[in-house]
């Protein structure tokens, strides 16, 4: 019996409406795809697609404008928060989010990030921290762990020569502007559910006009880490999650769940 004959009574799983029905270019096992899906699911739940403007950044997620089924702007490397601020300030009725990697956000774009947060600009940032520059071939990122090998730290990152990693959520926690800051990961179903809840809270912070929100998603880059996807997930749990604590850093009062 074929599906068309009408036996389907309820949909158990389908593509979120906020994701275009196209093939993604991400490597097998890359967690960018999971994060895209979570963002799209939350957009569906909050019915945002028709009033959303997404800002794609320069990194492996540059093609995000092909994937999110809403108006999209592709920004210069590191400038997504400034572009988002430009959109949001002239059209506060729109829902504006950026999707950025760690090179984009924490290296070249750290100034735009900090100042958008300090101004309490009412935008939401989805920050994918995979500890490397994925797109350009796996070079060191500001978030590369001490000792971690990358193509520009072939002997392992030596903090004396190459500096120390930046913990973005902790850094931004020092500011008064953020309404919601959380670090999550997507290495198992439980973590994925938590990540989605965090993204939803971040988006709600904007919808409630509470100010800047950012969710840092610890993410794998199996290709540049030169690991099979399963091993990459375990490596993340064992190493990245140890250096970058998974937790909520700032939750504005207006976001606290009603008991």
């Amino acid at each position: 019996m074929s599906m068309e004959e009408g036996t389907r009574t309820s949909v158990l799983f389908e593509r979120p409406r906020a994701l275009e029905p196209v093939r993604m270019h991400y490597c097998p096992g890359c967690t960018h795809g999971i994060v895209h899906r979570l963002v799209a699911e939350v957009m569906d739940e909050l019915d945002l697609a028709e009033r959303a403007v997404g800002i794609a950044s320069v990194g492996c997620a540059v093609f995000a404008y092909n994937y999110f089924a809403c108006d999209m702007v592709e920004a210069a490397h590191g400038r997504a928060p400034a572009v988002a601020v430009g959109v949001k300030r002239v059209r506060p009725d729109l829902f504006v989010f950026t999707y950025q990697g760690d090179g984009d956000l924490a290296a070249i774009g750290i100034a735009e990030t900090i100042h958008a947060a300090a101004r309490a600009d009412n935008i939401s940032i989805v920050f994918v921290n995979n500890a490397v520059f994925g797109m350009t071939g796996g070079q060191m990122a500001p978030t590369t762990l001490p000792g971690m090998k990358t193509s520009t730290t072939p002997y392992g990152r030596d903090p004396k020569a190459a500096g120390n990693p930046i913990r973005v959520c902790e850094l931004l926690s020092a500011l008064d502007g953020p309404a919601y800051l959380a670090r999550v990961s997507v290495t198992n179903p439980q973590r994925v559910r938590e990540a989605k809840r965090a993204i939803r809270k971040a988006f709600e912070a904007q919808l409630k006009g509470l100010g800047f929100s950012l969710v840092e998603v610890l993410s794998t880059c199996p290709t540049r880490w030169a690991m099979p996807p399963q091993k990459a997930l375990k490596w993340l749990d064992d190493n990245m999650a140890a250096y970058y604590p998974i937790k909520e850093f700032v939750v504005a009062e207006g976001l606290l769940e009603e008991k």
């Binding site: 697609a49 028709e50 009033r51 959303a52 403007v53 800002i55 794609a56 540059v62 404008y65 089924a69 809403c70 108006d71 999209m72 702007v73 592709e74 920004a75 210069a76 400038r79 400034a82 572009v83 988002a84 601020v85 430009g86 959109v87 949001k88 300030r89 002239v90 059209r91 009725d93 729109l94 100034a111 735009e112 900090i114 100042h115 101004r119």
Partner: protein
């Protein structure tokens, strides 16, 4: 503040530029302080709230131009201003905006360069302005005024031109023009942004229409070539429609000075003194620097015996003049640098020997 319109009032160049933007329906300004243009952000900080617009003192010129990018993408008339070093920082953003086909107006109140230079009047950013400035195969349309009134008029028109060509437009002034006060008449009519034609390409929420994408990434060279050819076609159209220039005392002139902005203001005094002394000398003043009035300068070169380019830079404008003249007559250069502005007498001293040559 009720501003008086339709009658002569005194205004500073920088303030006239800001008022022109407000009158053109600009409702978003993003900038970072730098002398000698600080009265522009200060004017917006005071007056943008009166019209319900957005003013942000950004964390850098880089951030400011990218905020302009976002506001323009959302379909709002947006502007940033700066002076030379800050304009350098905006070039990446301008390149992205041109390739993404986004309109905006940028004002450069030029100061002495290179490097930190100084805050004196200069025109050394000519190449940067008219040849592209940032990376890639794009142009900004560039206009240069020589009075407070003209800066007002050009800034105001620039918003229409930017929208028409979906391209950044740059207005050039300098430390002198930005700081000086002159009489100006503000027109009675001002543009209400709600009356402007809709921008169906804007990313402002895909309600009841297919989604819009604003982007400058085209992996396939054939696709990128298509975009660049489209931009080029617009620049060709601008060359047909937007060329602006003015001529003074050119009838019967045997020597023509060519200068813009402050250099033109000094030159006109020299020309008038020369004429009073019986010298057949005139002034041709390009107002659009890109598109450049090449055809008009070629025609001028047929009519005069020699051309003297006066510029506050060491040989930038003169290159475009020579390209236009194509050897029809000798082209001489009086270039000054570092923020030095010549006196009319100094310009006249350059004119006199050239006049003697043309007579010989």
């Amino acid at each position: 503040m009720a501003i008086r319109r339709g009658e002569r009032i005194l205004m500073r160049g920088n303030e006239a530029i800001a008022q022109a933007a407000l009158d053109a329906g600009c409702r978003a300004y993003f900038g970072y302080p730098i002398t000698p243009q600080n009265q522009i952000p200060e004017y917006f900080a005071a007056h943008m709230p009166e019209v319900g617009g957005v003013f942000i003192q950004a964390e850098s010129e880089v951030a400011a131009i990218n905020m302009v990018y976002g506001a323009a993408a959302a379909g709002v008339r947006a502007m940033t201003t700066s002076s030379s070093p800050g304009i350098s920082l905006k070039q990446e953003g301008l390149s992205y905006m041109a390739e993404s086909e986004l309109p905006c107006v940028v004002v450069n109140i030029m100061r002495g360069g290179s490097g930190l230079g100084n805050i004196a009047p200069a025109q050394a950013d000519y190449f940067q302005a008219v040849k592209g400035g940032g990376h890639g195969d794009y142009r900004t349309l560039v206009f240069a005024g020589w009075s407070v009134q003209e800066l007002y008029d050009l800034t105001r028109d620039s918003f229409d031109i930017a929208d028409r060509y979906r391209n950044p437009v740059m207005v050039l002034g300098d430390a002198l023009l930005g700081q000086m006060m002159e009489p100006i008449i503000l027109p009675q009519d001002v543009i209400d942004p709600d009356d402007l034609p809709p921008k169906p390409w804007a990313t402002n929420g895909a309600k009841g229409r297919p989604r819009n994408i604003i982007n400058s990434l085209y992996i396939d060279p054939a696709d990128l070539e298509q975009v660049n050819l489209r931009l080029q076609a617009r620049y060709d159209e601008a060359a047909r429609r937007e060329v602006r220039y003015a001529g003074e005392h050119l009838e019967g002139a045997r020597l023509a000075l060519i200068a813009y902005g402050t250099a033109a203001r000094v030159s006109i005094s020299a020309v008038e003194e020369g004429r009073a002394a019986g010298l057949p000398v005139g002034l041709f003043r390009p107002i659009s620097l890109y598109p450049f009035p090449s055809r008009e300068i070629a025609a001028l070169a047929e009519q005069v015996e020699a051309i003297l380019v006066v510029e506050l830079s060491l040989g930038q404008l003169v290159e475009d003049v020579r390209l236009a003249v194509e050897g029809r007559c000798p082209v001489h250069l009086y270039g000054l640098s570092g923020g030095i502005v010549p006196t009319p007498a100094e310009v006249l001293q350059k004119i006199e020997p050239l006049m003697a040559e043309t007579r010989a």
